[in-house]
């Protein structure tokens, strides 16, 4: 059924596949970018991935290269880099990295576009106009966040131990470059974790209050790619087909949830990450089946349909209609267990070594105040969140 009203936007140019990165220089020229700020992190610099990026723009000299972006980038990092952008008279941004780097770049672009100095002053949802144009090219090095196409940026506020969400279509990059050379060095454990993050985006996008026919199409395409390729990418890191498929799956899921939002898994996951510093993908992988189980009575039809994409047509047709929703949840569990055996992906919160039982009430309290909770179809109270966390512990 069509929703009463929906919006869908994906204005990002997508360059995916063979030698995609080699088109960087052309794309920068087409955006009239002459002095980019290049953002990445220290690990990618060490791995030589930053060199790939710099060598793909031989005729353009970056005005500034910054690689000190931490794993959970915070508001002060964003403010500092925006200052560097201004001091070095940059005119565009090229960001190569995982979700933290790409979201930091979005925050910097937002500050420059709005002429502001502090990212916390721009908090909100759909409130900002386009402002000054800042060309931005995103090059993901993980396949999970989908940040290269989303209208969402998540930035940590370490003082209040929360993750702040910024939502605006003006956060979207101009170009996203998906090149397997940038994801091939990703270790199996992180490949598994980020891949489960993408699956979570697709499943939550397909079941949230904002789901619509276009986001559904993106989510379904993503789930199919993930179910066919995630294990392959974890087992065989140099399988280029699997890597490219996962990069595309992540992008498709990103576009899906950017237009239909995520729900309870992300609300509880953000709180877990904010308070206990559990990696986002790990939190998603652990919490996804538990939140699905909680939502099951409310989302029977939606989860039943998901079985077709999670388990394939044979399993779908062999399963009685009344059992399909539960079987869909089992498919997710089985995938997580297989990834656990291959790569050590944690299956429980205590396996992460970062969450203690006494943290759970605090996480539950923070989770119900996360903006993603509003898009979950079933109400999740603090008590419910605590129960889910205890099951997942």
């Amino acid at each position: 059924m069509l929703p009463a009203y929906y919006e869908f936007q994906n204005a990002v140019k997508i360059c995916s596949g063979l030698l995609a990165l080699d088109r960087l220089s052309y794309e920068l020229h087409s955006l009239h970018a002459k002095a980019p700020l290049v953002l990445s992190d220290a690990t990618l610099r060490k791995l030589g991935l930053l060199d790939h990026v710099l060598s793909a723009m031989p005729d353009i000299t970056p005005a500034c290269v910054y690689t000190d972006i931490p794993a959970d980038s915070g508001v002060s990092v964003v403010d500092h880099i925006a200052q560097l952008y201004r001091e070095n008279e940059c005119d565009s941004i090229v960001a190569a990295g995982g979700g933290s780097v790409l979201d930091t770049a979005k925050g910097v672009a937002l500050l420059i576009a709005q002429g502001a100095s502090h990212i916390k002053s721009l908090m909100g949802c759909d409130t900002l106009d386009r402002g000054h144009r800042v060309p931005y090219i995103a090059i993901p090095t993980t396949a999970g966040t989908g940040s290269e196409v989303t209208a969402v940026a998540v930035v940590s506020d370490p003082v209040h131990q929360v993750k702040l969400e910024y939502i605006s279509t003006h956060l979207m990059p101009d170009v996203a470059i998906l090149d397997v050379r940038m994801t091939q060095s990703l270790p199996p454990r992180i490949t598994a974790s980020t891949g489960m993050d993408a699956l979570c985006h697709a499943i939550e996008a397909f079941s949230s209050t904002q789901k619509n026919p276009l986001s559904d199409a993106y989510a379904i395409a993503s789930i199919r790619l993930i179910m066919e390729n995630l294990e392959k990418a974890v087992r065989h890191p140099h399988d280029k087909q699997a890597r490219l498929a996962m990069a595309n799956a992540s992008l498709l899921a990103g576009s899906a949830f950017s237009n239909s939002m995520v729900g309870g898994v992300h609300a509880i996951g953000h709180a877990t990450g904010g308070l206990c510093h559990v990696a986002h993908g790990d939190a998603m992988a652990i919490l996804l089946p538990y939140v699905m189980r909680f939502n099951e009575d409310c989302l029977q039809d939606i989860y039943s349909e998901l079985l077709l994409y999670l388990g394939g047509p044979e399993l779908y047709s062999q399963t009685a209609p009344a059992r399909r929703a539960r079987e869909a949840i089992h498919c997710v569990r089985r995938l997580a267990k297989r990834l656990n055996r291959i790569s050590g992906l944690p299956l429980r919160l205590q396996d992460t070594g970062r969450v203690k039982a006494e943290d759970l009430p605090l996480i539950a309290e923070a989770a119900v105040n996360d903006g993603a909770m509003i898009a979950n179809r079933k109400a999740i109270t603090q008590k419910d969140a605590l129960k889910i966390l205890m099951h997942a512990y």
Binding site: P3, A4, Y5, Y6, E7, M123, G124, C125, D126, T127, V162, L164, E165, I167, S208, T209, Q210, M261, E365, V368, N369, D370, G371, M373, I374, A375, R377, K378, A379, T381
Partner: protein
Amino acid sequence: MKALICRVILFFLYRGMRVLEVYDPVLRQELLDLPQGLTFGIRTSPHPGAPSIVLVNGAKGLRKGKSWEMPHVLITFKSLSLAVRVLIGLDSIADAYAQHSFTLQGNINAAMGFVRAMEITEGYLFPSFWAKRILKRLPKKRIPTLGVYVFALLGL
């Protein structure tokens, strides 16, 4: 006419929340959990002069704030018609969020407590069959709907 409807419902929403702050422990707890002094505004359209309200989570409970001051969290509906749909209970706040019917300025996390308090109030102000359509979960009523309206009108 739409502006008048909004003014009337915003009046009952504010007064209703104040009544329920006394009678409903869940709503009271929601407000207690919010930072003291936090201000939350609703503007029914971006145009000047549109009906609006600013609520202050004060030390002595919920109060009306000064309408010309920028609140910490501000919901602005994109048009008066969209605000009317939410205020008369055709759409829930979650529906309106899903349909991009409003913009939200400020910290989304800080808004959630106020949103839940508003939903509890809607659960009292609307008849159950109506509230059931828009709310994910109906509040357990500690005072009859008529009582909320009477106390709200009397300003108790």
